[in-house]
C-alpha cells in the first residue's frame, strides 16, 4: 500500500500529539490494534525512524484511547480486525437496534431471506446497503441488486481489503467490488456514485454491535 509522503507523521510527533508512551504504542502493536503495514521504517544515519499514515493512525489512536478503559485490548483487537466477526443476531434483535433504516432492512430480508439469525456477513451487507441508500445516490431496486451481488460473491466476504463501488452512466448503474492493488479508469460520462470501504464498514459495524452489548450466537 502506498502512503503519500506528505501524509506521514513521525513516531515522535505522534507521541507528542496523542500523549501516549512508547510502551503503549508497542503494546498496541503487539495486540494488533495497529496494523503492521502502518509502520513505515526509514533508515537514517541517526538510526531508524518510523513514520505512520497520519490520518489513519491519529484516528485509530483516538478510538483506542476512547475505548481502552471499558474494553480489553483483545476485544479492541477484534473490533479493528479486518476479519468479519463471529457474531449472529436475530432479525428482530437487529431491527430493534436501529442500526439500519427500515427500508434497507426490508429490502435485505426480501433478497437474503435469512433463515433464523443474521450472520455478521449478512449484517455487513445490509449495513453497506443502508449507507448506499442513505447517500441518496441509488434507488431501492439498485440496492437489491447490490445485496444480490454481495451475497453471491465469495470474494466480498473474504476479509481482503476491498471497496464496493457503484458506477453510473446515463442512469444505468453497475456494482463493482474493487480489490487493491489495481486502478480502474471510467469512460467519459460515467461517474462513481457510491464508494464504501469494506474494512471501514466492518469496523464501524463491529463498533455499533459491540458497543451496544451484543449477544453472541450460541
Amino acid at each position: 500500500m502506498g502512503h503519500l509522503e506528505e501524509d506521514l507523521i513521525s513516531k515522535r510527533e505522534l507521541l507528542d500529539a496523542t500523549g501516549i508512551s512508547y510502551g503503549q504504542l508497542y503494546r498496541w502493536k503487539r495486540k494488533n490494534l495497529i496494523p503492521e503495514d502502518w509502520f513505515i521504517r526509514k533508515s537514517t544515519f541517526t538510526g531508524q525512524e518510523t513514520f505512520f499514515p497520519r490520518a489513519l493512525i491519529l484516528e485509530r489512536i483516538g478510538k483506542i484511547k476512547g475505548m481502552k478503559d471499558e474494553r480489553s485490548l483483545d476485544e479492541l483487537a477484534g473490533v479493528f480486525s479486518p476479519v468479519p466477526a463471529d457474531l449472529t443476531l436475530g432479525v428482530d434483535e437487529f431491527a430493534g437496534r436501529n442500526i439500519v433504516t427500515e427500508m434497507a432492512l426490508d429490502a435485505a430480508l426480501e433478497v437474503l431471506a435469512p433463515s433464523g439469525r443474521l450472520s455478521f456477513t449478512q449484517m455487513l451487507w445490509i449495513f453497506i446497503l443502508d449507507r448506499a441508500l442513505r447517500s441518496g445516490e441509488i434507488g431501492l431496486e439498485e440496492g437489491r441488486g447490490l445485496l444480490r451481488f454481495l451475497s453471491g460473491s465469495e470474494e466480498a466476504a473474504s476479509g481482503r481489503p476491498s471497496e464496493v463501488l457503484c458506477a453510473r452512466k446515463l442512469g444505468v448503474a453497475i456494482w463493482l467490488l474493487a480489490m487493491p492493488p489495481g486502478a480502474a479508469l471510467l469512460e467519459d460520462g460515467a461517474k462513481i456514485c457510491v464508494r464504501e470501504s469494506v474494512h471501514e464498514c466492518i469496523e464501524a459495524l463491529k463498533l455499533v454491535l459491540v458497543g451496544g452489548g451484543v449477544t453472541d450466537g450460541r
Binding site: 515522535r12 512508547y22 510502551g23 508497542y26 503494546r27 503487539r30 541517526t46 538510526g47 531508524q48
Partner: protein, 233 residues
C-alpha cells in the same frame, strides 16, 4: 480437539512415524515424524525431527528437537537444542540451551537461559534472557530483561515499556548487545552499542556506545559510557 478418538505415538530406540491428530507424542532415542502433528503433549528425549507443523498444549524437548514447519505451543520447555523452521507461537516458553527460530516468535512469556536466534520479529509480553539473543527483525516486548553473557547479542530494533540490558557474568571480554534503535519508557543499558536510544527515563550505563539519545524526563550517563549526542524532547 477431541482427545477420545486419538491414539498415541511412541518411538523408542529409533523409528519413524507419520503425523496426524493424536493425544501424546513421545520419542525416546532417535525419531522422525513426517507430516503435521496436532497433539496434547509432546515429549522428546534424544533426537527428534518433525517434518511439518506442530500444534500442542505441552512441548518438552530434552536433547535435540526440530520442527521444520511452524509450531503453536501452549507451554514449551527446551533442555538442549531446539529448532523451528517457521514461526513459533506460544504462551510460555522456557529455553535452557539454545533455540533457533527461522520465522517470528509470538508469546506471552519467553525465558532463555542460554541463547535464542530469531529470523524475523519477536513479540512477547515478558522477555527474560540470561545469555544471548539474536533477533533479525524487531524485538517488541512489554518488559525486557537481558543479562548479557557468553556471546554477543544483536537485535535490529527494540521497542517496549521497560527495557533493561545489563552485563551478566564477567568474562575476559564482556559480551555486548548491538542494536540499531532502542525505544521505551524506562530504559537501562550496559555494554550496549546503538545508533539511537529514545525513551522517557534513560540510564546509559558502563560500556555503552550510543549515537543519539533522546529522552523526555530523565537521563543519566555513566562517565565511562560514550554518547555522541543527547537531547531532551
Amino acid at each position: 480437539m477431541d482427545g477420545e478418538a486419538r491414539g498415541d505415538v511412541l518411538i523408542n530406540g529409533g523409528g519413524t512415524a507419520v503425523g496426524g491428530v493424536c493425544r501424546t507424542v513421545r520419542i525416546n532415542g532417535a525419531g522422525r515424524i513426517s507430516g503435521d502433528v496436532d497433539c496434547q503433549d509432546c515429549t522428546t528425549n534424544g533426537s527428534a525431527v518433525l517434518q511439518g507443523d506442530l500444534r500442542t498444549e505441552n512441548l518438552r524437548i530434552n536433547g535435540a528437537g526440530e520442527v521444520t514447519g511452524s509450531a503453536e505451543v501452549g507451554r514449551g520447555h527446551v533442555r538442549g537444542n531446539a529448532k523451528v523452521g517457521g514461526d513459533l507461537k506460544g504462551k510460555t516458553w522456557v529455553v535452557n540451551g539454545v533455540a533457533d527460530v527461522g520465522g517470528s516468535v509470538g508469546a506471552e512469556r519467553l525465558e532463555v537461559y542460554g541463547g535464542i536466534e530469531v529470523g524475523r520479529d519477536c513479540e512477547v509480553e515478558v522477555l527474560e534472557v540470561r545469555g544471548w539473543l539474536t533477533v533479525r527483525g524487531m524485538l517488541n516486548a512489554d518488559a525486557i530483561d537481558v543479562a548479557l553473557f557468553h556471546r554477543n547479542s544483536a537485535v535490529n530494533a527494540i521497542g517496549g515499556a521497560d527495557i533493561r540490558i545489563h552485563a551478566g557474568r564477567r568474562l575476559l571480554v564482556p559480551a555486548r548487545l548491538v542494536a540499531d534503535t532502542i525505544e521505551g519508557d524506562d530504559i537501562e543499558l550496559e555494554n550496549t552499542t546503538a545508533k539511537a536510544v529514545r525513551g522517557a527515563r534513560v540510564v546509559i550505563g558502563k560500556g555503552c556506545d550510543i549515537g543519539n539519545v533522546e529522552y523526555h524526563l530523565d537521563l543519566t550517563v555513566d562517565p565511562s559510557a560514550k554518547v555522541a549526542q543527547q537531547k531532551q524532547i
